[in-house]
Amino acid sequence: MPLGETDKIVTLFAREYGKFNIIAKGARRTTSRLAGATEPLMLLKALLAEGMNLDVLTQCDIKESFPAIRADFGLYLRATYCCELLDRMSIERDPDIETFDLLLSTLYILQRAADSDAVVHSFELKLMGLAGYAPMMDACPRCDQMFDTVTGQDSGIIEAAYSPMRGGALCRECAMATREEVMAISPDAATWMRRLAVEDNARAMAEIVLPQPIADQLNRSLRSHLRLRLERDVKSTAFLDAYRVGAMENLSDPLPPDAR
């Protein structure tokens, strides 16, 4: 089917069918009922007709449009990042109900989260878990000693660094001995990482607030862990980072008039 100039190609992620592209005929016209429905961050009940190359979206109902996310630029960037990460990590037409439910609940929780970055990190950890890339946090991947996750820093083996290469936390001895790239991670940060990876109570998740040093450590180690496994950057990460440090607003230092 030829793609007309008012048609849109849209990627859907369906609970029962996984990720695939469809054509929405006429969806660029403002009068089309498909226009709003084929926007990013829409939960749809959709009816598709089999097409030559791509299926065609014939009918759909918008079930949820996440207005709180659309009304807040910071939340919008975080939601966009989650969608892009899922897109990068999923294979076409690979049904994945758990991942679908994870994204959906993440978007709902984002709308009333006390700390939206905690929600994003939890999403990253759970998504990697489902894909088999979860950071190893129970034992040191270099010497196999189990961490003392109950008593924390007081006794036993503790986490001293994160190794993106090995995909897990290293014990103090191994962190000192190894030459690979490691990043500082405290036992507290490791404990948060373990909790965020399994927290499945939406209400509790929405109330979590990460202390700033913990958030920084998680951000660095997860970023690096993901980059190695995806073998490239997620494009929206750069904007999310810029937004987090306020750099997107430093634009108010304008160009001198003669440089225009």
Partner: protein, 199 residues
Amino acid sequence: MLHYARPLARLVAEFEKLPGVGPKSAQRLAFYIMRLSDEEARAFADAILEVKAKIGYCKVCFNFTDQEICDLCRDSRRTDDLICVVAEPRDLIAMDKTGEFKGKYHVLGGVLAPMEGIGPDQLKIRELLARLHAHEVKEVILATNPTVEGDATALYLARLLKDLTPRVTRIAHGVPVGGDLDYADQATLIQAFEGRREL
């Protein structure tokens, strides 16, 4: 494509690169060109070359123009007190056809699209700030499309501009959510303009 003579195959391939043109239409267009007289064909080719050679961006508003500064920017009947911000030159044209707006424009060259790697630095946002610094503007009207990305761009700009101008408004969503301004009819656009609200 093997059954075409090489020059014809090349032309078909070029047409296929155009938006909304599939293999069938490309073939149809190429055969149409074949039937043109030499002069007609040359006029067509010249038009393409001329547009590339002579049309650039206005230094002030980044609309298309064949001059340093476009006609709209130089029009003294238009007030400098109002700036209407649009995503693309075609949105400017759609907006200006309504005849409702008597201020100046600013064309961003797109909308923020994090997933496609389009951030503030890829758009003419710095240049908009420079305009607001250069002389006082009473109102900035954000007329990006009412899509998720257009809305996000407006949200971002509203925050960025709030200390630089007394009034930042967003055109009302008489335009249904998800559509392009380009395809909106005139009446809808006029309503959208009148019903703009402060951000």
